[in-house]
Amino acid sequence: MRPRLDPHRLQALVIGASAGGIDALMHVLPALPADCPIPVVVVVHLPENQPSLLPEVFGPRVDLEVKEADEKEPVEPGTIYFAPPGYHLLIERDRTFSLSVEAPVHYSRPAIDILFETAAAAYGPTLAAMLLTGANEDGAAGLAHVARLGGTVLIQDPDEARIATMPLAGLRAVGDQATVLPLASLALMLRALRTKESR
C-alpha cells in the first residue's frame, strides 16, 4: 500500500532536521502545493547566536508563506514556520506558538522533541511528524509522543539520510508505527497535501 497523507484529516505537519537538514528540506518543502490547507512547522538545528536566514533561503523556493514563528502567533494554515535560533518552539492547545529558553535538549535549542511533544498534545491524531537526517537523537522521544496520541509518523530512510543517527533513533522509539521513506517519496506525499483533489 502506498502511504498517503489525507489533507482533510490532517491539521498540522511538524518537521525536524539536523545535520544535512537544509539539503533534505530543499527536497521536501518545495513539494508543498500553494493551496496546502495545513500549517507546516519546522525545527532545524542551527547555531544559536546568529539569525537563521531560513525564511530567506526557503521563501523564494516554496509556494507558501514562510516565516519565523513569533510567540503568541496563531498557527495558520498554508504557512511554513521555522523555530527562531536560541529558543524552543512550542504549540499550545489553543494553537498558538510559545517560545522558551529552557535548557537545550540533546544540546539543541530549538529542540525537535519539544516541538513534537507539544504539537502532539495540541493536534493528537490529526498531526503528522516527519524526522529527517541528523547526527543526534533529538526528535525520537517527540515521535513517541506523536505515535502514542495517534498521529502519523514519517521518518527519512536511514540508508539514504546524510547522517542516519537521528532517523535510526526515531525508528527505535516508534518501531513499526513509523512510515520510512526516502526523500523523493516524502516529497510526493507532501505534494498531495492540497485543498482540492488533484485532477
Binding site: 510567540e71 529558543y87 509522543h145
Partner: protein, 278 residues
Amino acid sequence: MNLPIAYPDSDFDIELRLLIEGIYLKYNYDFRNYSPASLKRRVAHALAQMECTTVSALQDRILHSPQHFLNLLQFLTVPVSEMFRDPAYFLAIRDKVVPILSTYPSLKIWIAGCSTGEEVYSLAILLHEEGLLERTLIYATDINPHSLQRAEDGIFPIEHLKLFTANYLAAGGKRAFSDYYTAAYGSAIFDRALRRQVTFADHSLATDSVFSETQFVSCRNVLIYFNRELQDRAFALFRESLCHRGFLGLGSKETVQFSAVSDQFESFARHERIFRKR
C-alpha cells in the same frame, strides 16, 4: 526511552490546573496565567525528578511541605540565563541608551526576572565601563529565592566563561573579561564591587506592584512565559515605574507591539528590542 509519565493525557491537564490553583492558595505564587505548554513540560520533568507518579501526588507533597514546594519552584521558573545574551542588545545599550542615561544625575535600573544574575553582572560591567555604575541603583528582582541567592553570590561555572567572554567582546566590552572575576575551584567568582549598587529582591510581576521610579527596565525572556493578560499586567508595571522617556529593554523575541500599552511606547532600537516611553 524516558517519557514523562501521563503527559500529555487530559488527566494531566486537569491535575495541572488543580496544582497551580493549590500553589496560589497556599503559597501565593501565581502561575495561573502562564502559557500552559511549557508549564506542563516542566511539571512533567518535576514529576520524574521528584519521583511522583501523578501530579496529584506531587500536589499532596508540596501542599504539606514548603521545602518540596521550593524544589518544585526550581522547575516552574526556568532558571536559565547567560551573560551578555544577545550581544547586540548590550551593544545597543552601550552605544545608544547610555549617552541618554548619562544626562541623569542619578539612575535607577530595574532588572525584572533576573534569574541567577547573569544579566545583572552584564549590565553592571557595562555601566562600570561607561562610568555610570557609581551613580546607579540596580534593582534585580525575581520570584525564585534560590536564583536570587545565586545571583547575589555571583559565582558561575567556569565552563560557561568561554561563551560569556565571547558575548562580552561582541557586546563591545572594553577590557579583558577576566578582570572581572577570579577563577577558583571550577568557578568564576565575580568582583563584589559589581554588586555594591545592586539590591536583590523578591518581586512578582504577577502579584506585586511598582516599588520605585526607574529610568530603565530590562525584562528579558520572562514575558514569553506569560499569557497576554499577564503580559499586559507586567507592561503596565513597567510603564508606571518608568520616568518620562524611560527605556524598556526586552528579549529578542518579545515586543510591546501587541500589548495594551503599545501606544505608550515607541521603538528605540528596533532589532535589539529596546523601547522608549512616549
